[in-house]
Symmetry: C2
Subunit: 209 residues, 2 copies
């Protein structure tokens, strides 16, 4: 009985701990889009989460551990709001869908500073280390998703057979990331429409006539 | 005579002061591409410039003043290495030339963290204030330069008369900025070639047949 209680208590504690940990990390994702991963100080997070500094230290052994875990939570969010909505179709529809849901993610201000990965790629790009390595891996996952969709579109005859698949994926990513930067910088929703028009124009220029 | 000496000394002092100030700001431009404008602490700059902290305080009244002056020195550099080399021709040649010299600026690692303005636009995008305002103005100057070149190309019949001028400028900027991000993140020179190919493909798709 005593053992059971102990187990229960441990379980409840762990579960509370997990909830707090998740809450901290979700706050960290939002904060990092404005202040960068370097702006994730224990002080900043304590203010934003109302968890004490010592509580935060108990959850994360080092700033790097906090940054790496924040990246994983941001990746989960990206998959939920950008990737999954586009998986209903394949090929050209999926490539366009990925761009569309990315632009929705920006336009709806899902995160206060726009795309998490655009922000941290710019911040960490020139600083080799485990954080940059992980950000680079996730950026490649995203690029590969675009490349795969475009490849399927070519195979299915939805895009011209001489389409440079890597090049088209590069262009589509460039357009949506540029929209993110411009939307943040100028608070101008017209850039979202312009990006949709660019995706449309770029893809159409490769549709077999 | 005494007056002359005093004048001379004052002049020399001012000139030394200007030189030191310029040296500090040039270091700040380089540092900001890696650490961001927020990473420009007096401590970091003192280490990088070997000017004492008190000397640095004497030069810049506030961190914001330092950041704003750093932006102006980065703008001068951008004009020298990206804009001026492209001004020899007009129209389509200039639009392509601006993209080419931007890609050279990245590829040659003119600054350790790639394009200064791409770095600080990502960092400051979600933080309204005088720094973001100035970065946004300079980003628009650059966009306007692309728009003007593309407009001239359309007027001269070098690009199709139904070219959406703003859209094409948006796409060209997107491609070169995406190359900057990917080059920093993956250390892969292939992205520079891919970006040149993208500029070529996008522009060619609008050349009247």
């Amino acid at each position: 009985m005593a053992a059971t209680v102990t187990t229960k208590r441990t379980r409840r504690t762990r579960s509370d701990g997990e909830r707090t940990r998740r809450k901290i990390l979700e706050t960290a994702v939002r904060l990092a889009t404005v202040e960068g991963l370097d702006g994730l100080s224990i002080g900043n997070l304590a203010m934003a989460t109302e968890v004490s500094k010592s509580g935060l230290y108990a959850h994360f052994g080092s700033k790097e551990e906090l940054q790496l875990e924040t990246i994983e939570v941001a990746r989960d969010l990206f998959i939920d709001v950008v990737v999954i909505p586009a998986l209903g179709v394949e090929g050209r529809g999926r490539a366009i869908g990925l761009c569309d849901s990315f632009l929705d993610y920006i336009h709806r201000r899902t995160l206060p500073g726009g795309c998490f990965f655009a922000a941290v790629a710019a911040e960490q790009g020139a600083r080799p280390g485990p954080v940059r390595t992980r950000v680079a891996e996730i950026q490649l996952e995203w690029m590969n998703l675009l490349v795969e969709s475009v490849s399927k579109a070519v195979e299915a005859g939805e895009l011209s057979s001489d389409t440079d698949v890597e090049l088209l994926a590069f262009e589509l990513n460039a357009v949506v990331v540029a929209a993110n930067t411009a939307f943040n910088l100028h608070d101008n929703p017209a850039v979202i429409d312009r990006a949709r028009a660019a995706v449309e124009r770029i893809v159409s220029s490769l549709v077999p006539s």
